[in-house]
Amino acid sequence: MAEEKRNMLRIHSYAGELRERNERGTPGNLVEQDPGPIVRLQLAEKILDVCRANSLWPMTFGLACCAIEMMCMGMARFDIARYGSEVFRPSPRQSDLMIVAGTVNKKMAPAVMTLYEQMPSPKYVIAMGNCAISGGPFAVKENYNVIEGIDKLIPVDVYVPGCPPRPEGLIEGILKLQEKITGVRHPFPQRKVSDAPN
């Protein structure tokens, strides 16, 4: 019976197809085949990457306990606005970062997929908290409802562990994402406040 319950949790997902496509080496007929811009200018790409990294607008996608820590990150004490994430956009069409904060279960999975599809490229995903990374405290033998990690559904860029992670941890996740986009940890020249190394 546990096997049947496990089978019920498998859902058609992008990440699986992406993996298969890479293994096969052939394009296949997939939903999304983004050829990229027609004209590529190295310098323009670099400048655009720096702009994107410094202005990541998250989508409000708090599902469970981690959502409160995400709200704390947006408030005055930890203040994500100084890193560019000035506003949390409720609409996926207006955001470019999806912070999945909380547990995704079988009923919620199609909604996550729909929201991910609606975001315009380039889009990034941070898996915040143990539940989004691997199912967290609910990835047990008797699990019948929780998806064990959202990377089974959508491709994830940065994983922030914790249950829930501290707001500082999530800010570090966003800085790591900036590093992933531009290659440099603080993409914008920072004024040195003290002699401590950056």
Binding site: L63, M71, M75, F88, P92, T103, A111, V146
Partner: protein, 371 residues
Amino acid sequence: MPELTKISQPHRFFLNMGPQHPSTHGVLRVLLEMDGEYIIEPQPVLGYGHRMQEKLAECRTCTAFMPNTARMDYAAALPYNHGYAALIERMAGIEVPPRAEYIRVITSELNRIASHLLWFGALLLDLGAFTPILYSFDDREQILDILEDITGSRLTYCYFRVGGVSKDIDDKFVERTRAFIKRLRQRFDIFEKLVTGNVIFINRVKGVGIIDADMCRRYGATGPVARGSGIPYDVRKNQPYSVYSEFDFDIPVGENGDSLDRYMVRMREMEQSLRIIEQALDKLPEGPYRGKIPKKIKLPAGDCCFSVEAARGELTYYLVGDGSDVPYRLKIRVPSYSNLSVLPELCRGMLLSDLVAAMGSLDLVIPEIDR
């Protein structure tokens, strides 16, 4: 309000207030049958946050389930810990030393204030005001710092143990709490001036979402929802548990049962919680912080229940034991479940923007409803 039956059909449609929405405080989906701007019938759809808590309780030993209790209502997790620990103590006949009871009361009340501050900010964020949440989260961070020193977590506490608490409080905690009480009392003035006296806010919540006492009883709504409707029901006074009978505090009660009354009840409750904390700090006894517990806690065969006053209403745990240390069945009666079930009857014929104010005043936390 116009006669809805006479309006022609094209104005009727279904609006989905989806699982992802800034005003639903989590993953609640409300299917609204609309007639123009008026709601005919809202149907909440639950289950987007279901995490099998009752099933997990049957698969773990009773003490290993404690972290799960905090993950249900994460905004006010300590009353959930308290209810579960006290239930196991009642079943297994374990004594709790008085110092531990006082520490439990102090930390639970601090957590209740933190939860109400979170609710305050979130309600006003829904109504369109961005400033009050910044102020309330500032005060909330002070509480979180105080509690983090002794519990180790900011949000999902697993501080209480069967028989007491897991770590003692020291003088630094007492000092910081006293300083915090003084500070918060002054901050209430800011909230009064900024929000409570604000004519825009009052126009948005006065007369909106009136729940009368009979409706509360038919749906089983408890907590500030019932108190806003004039029912002075608080488990801490009705069935005192722990050491609540030794403190002198009032139960704020509203008159009309509208959203403004529920708001005022919660604001007054924060002041009453401060009173309880002060009295508890004055009377704090010395002694051990954890009682003696057997190596393996055996739950007797039979059923038992325990009720506490969580931040959102009455929380009842019902446990059926079978003689081992793994519960046979645990039923968790969460307050937001019954509070949300009034929504279909409450919001019939309401304007859409009033629905947001009414839902915010009910103070819902969806993962606790879905468990």
